[in-house]
């Protein structure tokens, strides 16, 4: 089986793996980047959220062989003003509690704000409802997304 070629966080990545292996495990166990988390293995919780060609995907349920040639970005690789604004807002409002879901929350929030510069509460709820947080940091996630949107206006 020839290796699968992708781009991971801006660098070429050639993976020698079973094409059915989920992207999440390839990134965590082969590339050694552990910021993206395993929470359900069934696209139910969003803890594994990464960007594939700019779109948020549930990496636990994305076979690596299905995205050959794509650009994959993880929490370790996000950059740019939207990502900075989101991470700054997260720190400013102390969103995190246990922190385990937050990589996925941030990846979903960055995708939302890239798409929609001024989301309403309802936009946030619908874009973020695939990301579970058992600590229920939801009040602050909403507030931090508004905070980041405000910071990006300036």
């Amino acid at each position: 089986m020839p290796p699968i070629k992708l781009t991971l966080n801006g660098k070429p990545w050639s993976v020698d793996a079973d094409p059915d292996m989920p992207l999440l495990w390839a990134v965590r166990e082969i590339a050694g980047k552990t910021g993206s988390k395993f929470g359900c293995g069934a696209a139910q919780c969003g803890a594994c959220t990464m960007h594939v060609d700019g779109q948020p995907v549930r990496a636990c349920s994305t076979p690596i062989g299905s995205i050959a040639g794509s650009k994959v970005t993880t929490i370790e690789g996000i950059e740019g003003k939207v990502a900075r604004a989101v991470q700054d807002a997260w720190v400013k409002l102390d969103v995190v509690q246990c922190g385990y879901c937050q990589s996925g929350q941030i990846m979903s929030a960055v995708a939302l704000l890239t798409d929609n510069a001024k989301p309403t509460d309802q936009d946030i709820d619908s874009a973020m409802s695939g990301n579970l947080c058992r600590c229920s940091t939801y009040v602050r996630i909403r507030a931090a997304i508004h905070e980041a949107a405000k910071a990006l206006e300036i």
Partner: protein
């Protein structure tokens, strides 16, 4: 996790215990304490060159950082921030120079004084039991830094001030780092005075969390992220019914999966070891196991509920008896029955540990919540002494009680697998010593037991002609959490089954509370706020129902009965005032209120709910008031209330583990539904100003949430929901 019946006051007995342990063992509050057994003088010299460690909790480094060793698990509740703030206050540091790290597992130094000689986290005790201990640690470190400055500058200690990490006297100025080496050579003073709380500058203010930055960049390390050289990844096939054991194992197809290295039997199931999680997972799918179910639970939850209900007419073990309930003839009798389902904790990080087992040592990496118990169980499993077990505590991706259990289930599984690899019969022993990372899948977690027990309650009240409550009977049926563990008190009712019901803040002249303790192979465990998850619901919805029967406003009704409990009354009053209890709401909305004490704190919630034209119930807003003594880090207190509200709301709306013929029906977040952001209400938190020592905040936000929402639903629809979750009765 509860501790109601094993508690000592940190100001009394447990404080003496702390002094005994540290002073008596000759290791605490001592310059240059290290973990090895080298001589004190050698330690002092070695440490002076590096860092200043005046006691087991504080390290001052030459780079001017002050690190607090955190004896509790950071699982989201904010101990890295709260406990660090206590030291920072007394040492007069700048918040930016403070650091936090998990302490090693060492019960002599790091026991939870509310648990006795056990290091562990739970029962919302972290700040409560550390308050005096860490104030003393910080104050002692400060005294040594001042003494070092006095010696260096030749001025009296009384002429020295410390503020925001700067030690000064006249024109002299120094940082803590500058003084660390000198301070490390000085004798540790005894009985250093603590600050007057009126002069606190950090405690009680909004302080940024210490773990925010690494948790927003993916850099925080959880057990699932730990990698050791040569490590194998393990998953375990466990029986489909609780109490079953493996009978036959056919591992041929599993071993044929690329990446699978070995399959071993352990007491709790069959482990598949592989070079990656994906291979281990596929290997497990290919595994064929048959099970001996002779001792397994084969009842479904419907049958269990029916069995419990059959016990309701019969008197149980006496818990509380005041007056004579049977002698009262009221004008009206009100009765209610409640059912509460099994609940899984479902922390976002599934249970995970990494174990490295050698002949005479065992190293464990885990989001470890019960270090002393886990050390003991790991040692027993491995055939070692507890002191040969090293635990590296890392961040836990949530717990809600799950990671602390007296059988150390997932830790023992990890050690069992590592031990099985050491067997010479397994590949000639060539896998011996290979580190093992055990990962539970979400399905393993949801189906794996250690649930909040299923309970049935029966309540009866007699009202006078004026609506006054003359008699109150409360009967509880369910499994014991504590039975057989180190906190068990044989012969006595399990306090965790009845806390929140045994004592209530309402003065009722005749009151009887009793308990039927049942047994089942379904393993049960404390779940965020433990007994109060169900008792507060029964008490607070029933009292609301009695108010309605008496045709009184639910707040006014509670106030009258609560006269002898001014702390509860103040919290209730603050919540209803901030919520605007008497102000009109939009059409289709209603309010409900509930108040509950748990873990020495009192919380009241006012919930506003709405119902749309399809009949769907939504919780719009929750206004919370909390009295937790001194709020050490108020923003963390608020976060814990927000989190408790969301956690409690998901559970009462749709949380349930059910079984059909003993097999769990749920498997992942699609069938075990948890609260999502679009279901999260707006939340306002108000903290009652207090000068009393701090009490719990991790759990107390949960208990009053369910009844406040149920009471609002009753006010809106007239429907009293008594069988949880609500999804069985209304559209949610």
């Amino acid at each position: 996790m509860p501790d109601g019946h094993m508690t000592q006051s940190p100001e009394g007995a447990s404080r003496r215990r702390f002094l005994q342990v540290t002073g008596g063992a000759g290791v605490g509050l001592m310059v240059g304490f290290t973990w090895t057994g080298t001589s004190r003088r050698a330690e002092a010299a070695a440490v002076a060159a590096k860092a200043f460690e005046p006691n087991a909790f504080v390290k001052v480094a030459p780079d001017n950082t002050v690190t607090v060793l955190i004896k509790h698990l950071e699982m989201g509740q904010g101990v890295f921030t709260g406990l660090t703030a206590i030291v920072a206050e007394e040492i007069d540091a700048d918040w930016a120079q403070m650091r936090a790290e998990h302490a090693p597992a060492n019960a002599k130094l790091y026991n939870n004084t509310a648990f006795g000689p056990i290091q562990g986290t739970g029962g919302s005790t972290s700040v409560y039991n550390s308050w005096t201990q860490l104030r003393q640690a910080g104050a002692t470190a400060r005294a040594l830094l001042v003494a070092a400055a006095a010696q260096t500058w030749g001025v009296p200690a009384s002429a020295i001030t410390v503020s925001k990490g700067v030690v000064s006297s006249g024109t002299h100025k120094a940082t803590f780092g500058d003084l660390a080496a000198t301070a490390a050579t000085l004798p540790v003073p005894a009985d250093v005075p603590l600050k007057d709380p009126k002069s606190f500058t950090l405690v009680g203010t909004k302080l940024p969390r210490k773990d925010s930055a690494e948790k927003t960049t993916g850099k925080a390390t959880f057990a699932i992220d730990v990698v050791q050289p040569g490590m194998l990844v393990a998953v375990v096939q466990r029986p489909p019914r609780f109490g079953a054991t493996a009978q036959t194992i056919d591992a041929k197809a599993a071993k044929a999966v690329k990446g699978v290295v070995e399959v071993v039997e352990i007491p709790r199931g069959v482990a598949v070891l592989a070079t990656s999680y994906w291979a281990a997972h596929q290997g497990r799918e290919a595994l064929k196991v048959t099970w001996d179910e002779s001792k397994a639970e084969k009842r479904g939850t419907d049958a269990i509920i029916a069995d419990y209900k059959a016990l309701l007419p019969k008197p149980g073990q006496l818990v509380t008896k005041e007056g004579d309930v049977d002698a009262v003839k009221g004008a009206k009798t009100v009765k209610a029955e409640f059912t509460f389902p099994y609940l899984a904790h479902a922390p976002m990080e599934p249970l995970t540990c990494v174990v490295k087992l050698d002949k005479d040592a065992c190293e464990i990496w885990a989001g470890d919540q019960f270090q002393t118990i886990d050390q003991g169980n790991a040692a027993k499993t491995a055939g070692l002494k507890p002191e040969q077990v090293t635990i590296h505590t890392v961040y836990a991706g949530g717990s809600f009680g799950r990671r602390a259990n007296v059988e150390s289930d997932y830790i023992v599984e990890g050690v069992s697998i590592a031990k099985a690899l050491a067997d010479a019969k397994v590949q000639g022993g060539k896998l011996a010593g290979r580190p093992v990372k055990l990962i539970w899948s979400r399905e393993d977690d949801v189906r794996g037991g250690r649930y909040r027990p299923l309970y049935v309650h029966g309540m009866e009240a007699k009202l006078g002609a004026d609506g006054g409550v003359l008699a109150w009977r409360h009967r509880i049926v369910g499994q014991s959490i504590m039975a057989g563990g180190p906190f068990d008190q044989p012969g006595k009712p399990d306090a965790t089954s009845v806390e929140g019901a045994a004592e209530i803040p309402y003065t009722i002249p005749n009151r009887l509370v009793d308990l039927h303790t049942t047994t089942s192979p379904v393993p049960v465990l404390w779940w965020r706020s433990v007994g109060s998850t169900h008792t507060a619901f029964a008490v607070e919805t029933f009292i609301d129902e009695l108010a309605a029967e008496a045709k009184q406003d639910p707040v006014a009704f509670r106030r009258t009965l609560m006269e002898k409990h001014p702390r509860h009354l103040a919290v209730l009053n603050l919540a209803v005032e901030k919520a605007g209890w008497d102000k009109p709401l939009p059409k289709g909305w209603a309010r409900g209120v509930a108040v509950a004490e748990s873990f020495r704190s009192v919380v009241a919630h006012v919930a506003e709910v709405s119902q749309d034209d399809k009949g769907r119930i939504k919780v719009e807003r929750v206004v919370c008031a909390v009295d937790c003594g001194i709020a050490v880090t108020p923003d963390v207190v608020k976060a814990q209330m927000e989190g408790g509200i969301g956690f409690g709301l998901g559970a009462v709306m749709f949380g349930a583990i059910t079984m059909t013929d003993g097999v769990v029906d749920q498997s992942n977040f699609d069938s075990y539904r948890c609260l999502r952001i679009d279901e999260m209400p707006k939340v306002e938190v108000h903290i009652v100003p207090s000068a009393n020592p701090p009490t719990g905040v991790g759990e107390p936000g949960v208990p009053p949430l369910g009844p406040a929402v149920a009471n609002a639903i009753a006010a809106l629809t007239g429907k009293r929901i008594r069988d949880l979750p609500f999804a069985g009765s209304v559209s949610v």
